[in-house]
């Protein structure tokens, strides 16, 4: 039996979501842009999904643009803001952002843009006063993630948006990890743009969305046909869009109860492991965190070795974010938090979903402490 604790990397497609998608992978294959009834019905289902996504975050339907991924949403948001009338050439973001934002910022340097990575403290939190100082007349956009994929640390986007609006700077938030896990209302938040990814909330891969507040300037990134009201070209990935709509609908209905359930599992996992393993810390624990995420460092052990041994037991977790794990780089997030090297190398991220159970958590607590002991023993013998 496999136990999947890597839901921040990707999630399984919910059964109800797959069921909602299937007609659009079979008989309802029309192109939503076509004029006849066969295509129009398909277009209606895209619009229904748009309503479902909007409803989850308190947006208006016309404020939702479907994309192919959270990454595309992030790229689209930032590139659009850089084209605003009289836009400056400076981007403010954080040192712990997803590569979708950080690598775009790095690339933009070749075109004369500059960017600031706001530092975080030991708990993974940014300093809002410092942020306010950094923003200047040249700042084109503030792109601050809602919740961190590696640690689950939640940034106070509502407070950040007040600073942004007082400085008259557009605020984008990468909410890929937050949507479906936290109650979100874009109007209370006050952001101008917000990125969503389907496969992080039990919708399929290949679909994302960008919320763009009505009245915000917007420049499309993928150009072509009139799809998405001229804001994102390309034949709509209908089945996946329908799936995202359904997943948002489910998330909205069950958000409160499932968040509580997941938090209970996560707390049980942390308590169990900390109780049985010495020299173990939970990264970001003193900050507000997503209820599903636990980033734990087991000092003096190699995180990759832990993952390999867990893999053998059929338990899936990760070290660092999946998007940089192939790169062999130690987590930029934990480095930014100034976590000691031996704790960074030994970090493992467990990210849960409502589909996990107490039995699975208990199975992990039953297996992992012994594995850690064994690995520490080997490591001690090697004199590391």
């Amino acid at each position: 039996m496999n136990i999947y604790f890597d839901n921040n990397a990707t999630t399984s497609v919910a059964l109800e979501v797959l069921e909602a998608m299937l007609p659009y992978l079979k008989e309802a294959y029309g192109n939503p842009s076509t004029a006849y009834s066969f295509g129009r019905k398909v277009r209606d289902s895209v619009e229904r999904a748009r309503g479902q996504v909007a409803s989850l975050i308190g947006a208006k339907e016309e404020e939702i643009i479907f994309t192919s991924s959270g990454t595309e949403s992030d790229n689209t948001a930032i590139m659009s803001a850089l084209r605003f009338k009289n836009a400056g050439k400076h981007i403010v973001t954080t040192a712990v952002e997803h590569p979708a934002v950080l690598n775009l910022c790095k690339y933009l340097q070749t075109f004369g843009y500059t960017y600031t990575e706001l530092p975080v403290d030991n708990a993974g939190m940014i300093d809002l006063d410092y942020m306010a100082q950094i923003i200047d007349a040249n700042t084109a956009i503030l792109s601050i993630m809602y919740a961190n994929n590696e640690t689950g640390v939640i940034f106070p986007i509502d407070k950040i948006s007040r600073i942004a609006s007082s400085k008259n700077v557009v605020l984008h938030t990468d909410a890929v990890q937050a949507v479906g896990k936290l109650p979100i209302n874009v109007n209370d938040l006050g952001v101008q743009m917000l990125s969503i990814s389907g496969h992080k909330l039990h919708a399929p891969k290949g679909v994302g969305a960008l919320y763009v507040k009505k009245g915000t300037e917007f420049y499309p990134y993928i150009i072509g046909g009139h799809q998405e009201n001229g804001r994102r070209a390309g034949t709509e990935n209908v089945a996946a869009i329908v799936g995202l709509g359904k997943a948002c609908d489910i998330a909205k209905t069950f958000l409160d109860s499932e968040t509580l359930k997941v938090q209970h599992l996560r707390d049980r996992l942390e308590a169990g492991l900390l109780n049985k393993c010495s020299n173990t810390i939970v990264n970001g624990a003193s900050s507000p965190r997503l209820s599903n995420t636990s980033n734990i460092s087991f000092a003096y052990v190699d995180g990759e070795a832990i993952l390999m041994m867990l893999d053998k037991e059929g338990i899936y977790a990760s070290s660092g974010s999946a998007c940089s794990s192939g790169s062999g780089q130690p987590s930029h997030v934990l480095r930014a938090m100034n976590i000691p090297q031996e704790y960074i190398r030994s970090s493992v991220r467990f990210s849960l979903s409502p589909y996990n159970s107490e039995e699975e958590v208990d199975a992990l607590i039953g297996i992992l402490p012994q594995l850690i002991e064994r690995l520490r023993h080997i490591s001690f013998l090697r004199g590391n």
Binding site: N103, K205, T235, G326
Partner: protein, 396 residues
Amino acid sequence: MKTRYFDHVATNPLLPAALDAMMPYLKEEFGNPLSVYDLGLRAKNAIEDARDMVASLINAKSAEIIFTASGAEANNMAIKGVATAKQGEGKHIIISKVEHHSVLNTARSLEKAGFAVTYLPVDKYGFFDLDALKKSISKETILISLIHASSEIGTIEPIKEAVAIAKERNITIHTDAVASTGNIPIDVKDLGVDMLSMSAHQFYGPKGAGALYLRQGQRLVPLIYGGIQENGRRAGTENVPAIVGMGKAAEVAKAELQQRNAHTGRLRDRIINALKDVEKVHLTGHPTQRLLHHASFVVEYIEGEGMLLMLQAKGIYAASGSACTSKALKASPTLTAINVSPTMAHGSIVFSLGIDNADEDIELLLEEFPQIIKRLRDISPFRKGWGEEEGGSKHV
């Protein structure tokens, strides 16, 4: 009522074999391909298998295939990517007047950003004016992007000849082969292009997957930045099921291409032969050098929308103009480019065929369509002057 779908250039039904291949990746094989454990590795392997199949369809190397979310994204990536990478060498781009909107509008956006764009004219069949291509090339030219086959008029363009001209001057050449890939044989080594765009749902794969062929050694700046997916060339978690479906669709297309083309080609010719005898109905595009599943016409004195509605009442789905422009009531740039007057362009109609069409579908169409034309003409406000001109069909 049984429906007859003649709009395969807008989108195709998903091949059941492709859906079967996708299903595990919509269910238990949901891993992130970047994850290092076996669940992730299996997803990664599935993508690489699909890459081999797509590469094989166009005789490319696997490493030359970059998966995207659509043909439109592949076009955006190719054009913006080369324009950005080579803007230091020059700021002139050549496209044709019969491009898809994703090429045309991307070129226009570059125009706004300070690039010069030449819009290559075409003849009455839609063939590029290759002399004009030669003449429009300057020291500033960094990219030529020409469509392989038009989804509006079906004409298959002389890309090989255009490539020869481009290569003589060492200019990067891209082709939008969204309408042709998987529908006619394509060999990128034989064509000689540097880049080629394709879309899965045009050859019975799923929506949400496309690809860019990028010749080994061709420089390109990525469009979407972030993680290290697609070898750092296109960020974003891979759409594993759709990519797997695209791979399967490519594999089947390669195996069945001849058989499919024999079938759709025969149906196409039945339509063309029957409608050419209808008064004031003109074939658009070239009569033979055209996609085998594509029959396109302009019907004088009536509007495409009216024809579509009446066909729909008989359960027949067809297109007027490209799906991506059907909402805009402007005359299609492609029809304008082949010298169809704006009034006549309103009467454009495209029947694009597929493996799911049968002879009886064509028989129904050929029975109903001439009657629909007659009925619409009887009430047409454009009919004034009818009969004062010569009758009969002619080629546009």
